[in-house]
């Protein structure tokens, strides 16, 4: 938009017609009477008029009036000013604590309302929402013309996220005004706020009391194969002592129930045993009987099944089947449709399995081992397993894979190879049928160790743990230093002075006028001669 620094100069514009008047007065002196106009219309006789003399000024008055006009305009110092709406970036705390239920809804919904009310009257063209918990989550851009749908779009986009905070470090490179919306329950966010150019902090939430089930773990009891040992950790964040009822469900049945008295900031462990016969569903659910302000941390689920399902492909020797069946937590199945966690393949079939695979290779002939055996693995079960060299007959491996490592060597010959990626595979080249190892107790231990290796688990000592970060359950607002100057999005103005251009134009026009006058004087001089 055009603005004037000294607009009073514009009052001189009505004076411009005086220039025409001055030229008109001057032109009166230029009337010349001639004998006849017949011969004075060199181009077109029709130009002659029989009207009385009208003193029309020389057309150069237009040029001079233009110069005077531009001079007045340049004295008024015009400048072009453009206003651009600033973009507003909202760094939204979408952690679990923002799902805390307040009087008017969850902290997230209250924050959305608060934000929309704040932004409504502001000169914001675009609103960009950034997540503080998911670094790879695409930002949400809200356009002003779609303001009515902002609430719905935001609500859908802000799903509770229990992942750890991914606080950005590149905020200084993003142009615009930055706001932070948080409940200030996380000290990491609070620290991030103080270190970054956040111009406004919107804090939501007033609730302080929250109890959470932090972890829940189970393992088979060592002395009793029909019982599970369990331990859970309960945490209470708040300023008051609270009584909570903790219940353990299997399906719809309540297996156990505890009355807990939790002091402020107390972390309490509860150990108990679960009789396997009482478990009706594989899923065990531990939860508070009555929910508090934050529901999301009031329960934990765990799968009580410790068995590993394995699928057998090909014709495996009985000795191998017996060894597999002797494993207490391995279930072998033959139906290929069922989902399994391990594939056991016998023979030289080409089969691409998506699960960890134990491949027992065969060949026509096997060699008797005469060399000492050496383990090249960190697996404790295997590393501690001593195998006599005379136990072993082996097949010569026809090919070696690029990513495979030998874990059992007989001299220079690799008897067992392990491929970690892309799919965990153990290639077994020991001749099971002719080797005498199958008659020794080392063989089931060898198979168990290979299963542990390929599945990357310790199946004989299984522990299942489900947990959540304790800091997610903090809902009480922590002290935060809001000492920054609040900054609202405003119109950013760019002004561009037009005076230099006008003055340049004046010089050009003066030059044109000088050229015209020079030519005219030249003609005048020639005529006088």
């Amino acid at each position: 938009m055009l603005h004037w620094s000294n607009s009073l100069w514009l009052l001189l514009i009505p004076v411009i017609p005086l220039i025409r008047l001055l030229h008109q007065i001057r032109s009166t002196k230029n009337i010349v009477f001639v004998s006849s106009l017949l011969f004075w219309s060199p181009e077109n006789n029709k130009r002659q008029t029989t009207q009385p003399i009208i003193n029309t000024p020389n057309k150069t008055w237009i040029l001079r009036a233009t110069i005077a006009g531009i001079l007045i305009l340049s004295a008024a110092a015009p400048y072009w000013e453009t206003k651009t709406e600033s973009s507003l970036h909202i760094w939204f705390d979408d952690s679990i604590s923002m799902q805390t239920q307040e009087k008017k809804g969850t902290r997230t919904s209250i924050a959305i309302d608060h934000l929309l009310n704040k932004v409504k009257g502001m000169p914001v063209s675009n609103l960009t929402i950034h997540s503080l918990t998911t670094a790879n989550k695409p930002n949400l851009t809200l356009h002003r013309n779609d303001y009515e749908n902002w609430r719905a779009i935001l609500s859908n986009w802000l799903t509770p996220n229990s992942t750890t905070l991914q606080l950005p470090t590149h905020i200084k490179t993003i142009k615009g005004v930055h706001w932070l919306i948080t409940d200030s329950a996380d000290h990491k966010i609070n620290q991030w706020y103080t270190k970054n150019p956040i111009s406004q902090l919107l804090t939501i939430g007033s609730k302080t009391e929250n109890s959470a089930i932090i972890s829940f773990s189970i393992r088979p009891e060592i002395n009793n194969s029909h019982s599970l040992e369990a331990i859970t950790q309960i945490f209470h964040d708040g300023g008051k002592t609270t009584n909570r009822t903790l219940q353990l469900f299997s399906g719809k049945d309540i297996l156990k129930q505890w009355e807990l008295k939790l002091s402020p900031n107390e972390s309490k462990q509860v150990q108990f045993k679960i009789d396997l016969s009482s478990i009706q569903s594989e899923q065990l659910l531990l939860q508070f009987k009555h929910s508090d302000f934050l529901d999301e941390d009031d329960s934990l689920k765990i799968n009580s099944s410790f068995y590993l399902k394995a699928k057998i492909i090909g014709h495996c020797p009985d000795s191998l089947i017996r060894a597999l069946n002797s494993h207490p937590y391995l279930k072998t199945i033959k139906e290929s449709t069922e989902r399994v966690s391990l594939t056991i393949q016998c023979g030289n079939l080409v089969f691409n399995s998506k699960t960890p695979t134990l491949k027992f290779h065969t060949a026509n002939q096997s060699a008797i081992n005469t060399k000492p055996l050496t383990w090249l693995t960190d697996n404790k079960t295997l590393n501690n397993l001593y195998l006599k060299q005379e136990f072993i007959q082996y097949f010569l491996s026809s090919s070696s894979k690029e990513n495979s490592n030998s874990i059992l060597l007989a001299g220079d010959t690799s008897l067992i190879n392990y491929t970690k990626s892309p799919q965990a595979i153990v290639d077994f080249y020991i001749d099971i049928q002719l080797s005498t190892i199958i008659n020794h107790p080392e063989f089931p231990v060898l198979i168990t160790g290979l299963i542990d290796l390929v599945t990357q688990q310790s199946l004989l000592d299984p522990i299942k743990i489900t947990s959540r970060p304790a800091n997610e359950s903090y809902i009480r607002a922590l002290p935060i230093t809001a000492n920054k100057q609040t900054k609202h999005p405003t119109y950013s103005t760019n002004s561009y002075s037009l005076t230099p251009w006008l003055i340049s134009l004046i010089f050009i026009l003066l030059l044109v006028d000088w050229i015209i006058m020079f030519k005219r004087n030249n003609i005048h001089h020639k005529l006088k001669q």
């Binding site: 010349v32 001639v34 106009l37 060199p42 009207q51 003399i53 003609i523």
Partner: protein, 293 residues
């Protein structure tokens, strides 16, 4: 417009007599003078006061020969009536406003030449009348002879001036005053769209022998100012004129074209035409014209 003082610029008698002698000595076209016999190439001035006849010259019509006087004088004599008819002269001077522009030179040259030719004509026995015309007849000295007539004409030339503004050059206003057959000398700048061609034809059709003295001001198209408003002194019309060399050249060409066109027209119709510029003296302009006669 500058007031013209004709009295100071008209030639005096001495100058006129000198010019007349030159004219006689040079034996300019005898038709201007009364009679010239081609046989002896002698100019015969004046008439035979006693017999009312004049000596025959080849070309005179036979039916006007006075046989009785011829028998008495042993040479052919023609009758006086015939001579008078052939010696009737009118000088029509354009006194429109254009004759006074751009300065007095055009008008002064016109009346100076008119004065000189009047003296020569009257001195050679011709009857002479002067008519001043613009859009009407402004002054008229009827046909007359001798010194008294010249005095009248001289005074008339002194008194008349072109009108300061307006008017037109209408030659046909003079026609009712002319007796035919006669010889008519028109002195004008001919600055009219048709260059008076219509009037000239009409005049010629009335058995008038036409003589034209085209007077032109040398400074007519020399302007020393730029970007002018030109105003027609007669019609009052105006127009802008950008004084560029190119435009001036075009105007100069227009004037030249007018001169050539009028000259061509006169030659075509057998009119005696001479062109005089104001940079010429009245003597030169007079001699130039009578030489062409």
């Amino acid at each position: 417009m500058e007031k013209i003082r004709n009295k100071q610029v008209l030639p005096d008698i001495t100058e006129l007599e000198a010019l007349c002698r030159i004219a006689q000595q040079k034996s300019f076209n005898p038709q201007l003078f009364s009679r010239v016999c081609q046989s002896n190439n002698k100019v015969i001035l004046g008439k035979n006061e006693f017999s009312g006849t004049q000596k025959y010259c080849p070309g005179d019509e036979i039916r006007f020969i006075n046989w009785r006087t011829s028998a008495r004088s042993n040479e052919l004599q023609v009758q006086q009536q015939y001579i008078e008819q052939n010696n009737r002269w009118y000088i029509c001077i354009d006194s429109s406003a254009s004759m006074g522009l751009p300065d007095t030179n055009k008008w002064l040259l016109s009346i100076q030449v008119a004065c000189a030719i009047s003296y020569i004509l009257l001195n050679t026995g011709n009857k002479l009348s002067i008519i001043f015309f613009d859009e009407k007849v402004n002054g008229f000295i009827p046909l007359g002879l001798g010194k008294r007539q010249f005095k009248k004409i001289y005074l008339s030339l002194q008194q008349h001036h072109p009108r300061p503004k307006g008017g037109d050059s209408l030659l046909h206003r003079c026609i009712p005053l002319l007796k035919t057959p006669s010889k008519t000398l028109i002195i004008s700048d001919f600055l009219k769209p048709d260059m008076m061609k219509t009037d000239l034809k009409y005049l010629a059709a009335m058995k008038n022998q036409i003589h034209i003295l085209h007077v032109m001001e040398q400074q007519e198209y020399l302007l020393t100012q730029t970007d002018l408003i030109l105003s027609d002194i007669e019609s009052g019309g105006t127009q802008h004129f950008n004084t560029t060399t190119e435009n001036i050249n075009r105007v100069r060409e227009n004037f030249k074209q007018q001169h050539l066109e009028l000259k061509s027209f006169c030659q075509k119709h057998g009119y005696h035409y001479s062109f005089s510029n104001t940079n010429q003296s009245w003597q030169d302009a007079t001699i130039k014209h009578i030489r062409r006669l």
